[in-house]
Symmetry: C2
Subunit: 205 residues, 2 copies
Amino acid sequence: MSLYLRELQMVSGSGKPTISSSTLARRLGLTASQVRKDFAYFGQFGYPGIGYRCDELIQKIRSILGTDRVWPVALIGCGNLGQALLGYRGFGNQGFSVVAAFDKQPNLVGRTFEGLTVRHMDELAETVVASKIELAVLAVPAAAAAEATQEIVAAGISGIMNFAPVTLNLPPSVSQVGVDLAIELEQLAFSVVAKQRARDRSEKG
Amino acid sequence: MSLYLRELQMVSGSGKPTISSSTLARRLGLTASQVRKDFAYFGQFGYPGIGYRCDELIQKIRSILGTDRVWPVALIGCGNLGQALLGYRGFGNQGFSVVAAFDKQPNLVGRTFEGLTVRHMDELAETVVASKIELAVLAVPAAAAAEATQEIVAAGISGIMNFAPVTLNLPPSVSQVGVDLAIELEQLAFSVVAKQRARDRSEKG
């Protein structure tokens, strides 16, 4: 769904109000019948001779994903990765707003990055309540992840996006997604190897 | 395949030499028959009464992925994100070694992060040849991505992992994976919303 959303946003952003299932399928490497099946599943149907209305579909997918509103997000950990994430524009474009940033390091607490002043972790619980924060982005070193997770859960956060290369121990009511950047690099390596193997075969044949 | 690999590495790292298809399936949220089908597809079969040998499977998956050797990687862009990626241990654990880092900013060129001294982009082509670099991690701002991509392609790189929120224009011989961190946050938001909807339903029912 995220991939459809991103593609529809690009089409809509380029000034085209509608798209056919076959064009969308080609852009995403799918078949037109797969696209029609997916959209029918969540109750959207194309208009004969017109295709799909991008804005209508974007609205529908965001409503299913729950991103048809702005989610206030807390950033936990303001080292290099945290600072990079504060500057990452992709979040804001998709309905996520980092409204508060936290750390424990005395050399970081009180500093301002991208307009946000880093608060001490001791202020997490009250900030979560005051700013109605539901999601946290965890960008601390592996060794600090367990303690930070306890504090995040105690503060009442519902979901954690985890960049630390460790498995978090969470109650079932708290959701998590882990970001493993090495998986993306593995896909890239595999794609490079696959092309090399194809070239080797065609040179031999 | 990456998910199987990561899980097998965790099992093996915890001291267990073998795992059954049912245990592996449960840990990954799959069915045992799906696991057996996947492994049979790449020619690996369990041992009756023992299960799968982790090391054997890890070796096989790495050989398919092309990560049974070390890939030298160039980092392009040494701002906050680049510096965070230099400190990201997940790459090294999975067969990727960032051997050189590049930027154009005078305040970054010559500085040392995680033991690597930032070189000027003008040195990219010769470094790629000298260090046999095949992959690049692109961590520059969106506005700098097109120019950097041209230089990366001209230097003879085979694959680019792109963190810039733009589509790269690449010749077909060069592979790319784009990292869209907002997609992970969308999945998290969806999971939180799904749990809330389930709770609302059970309270009503």
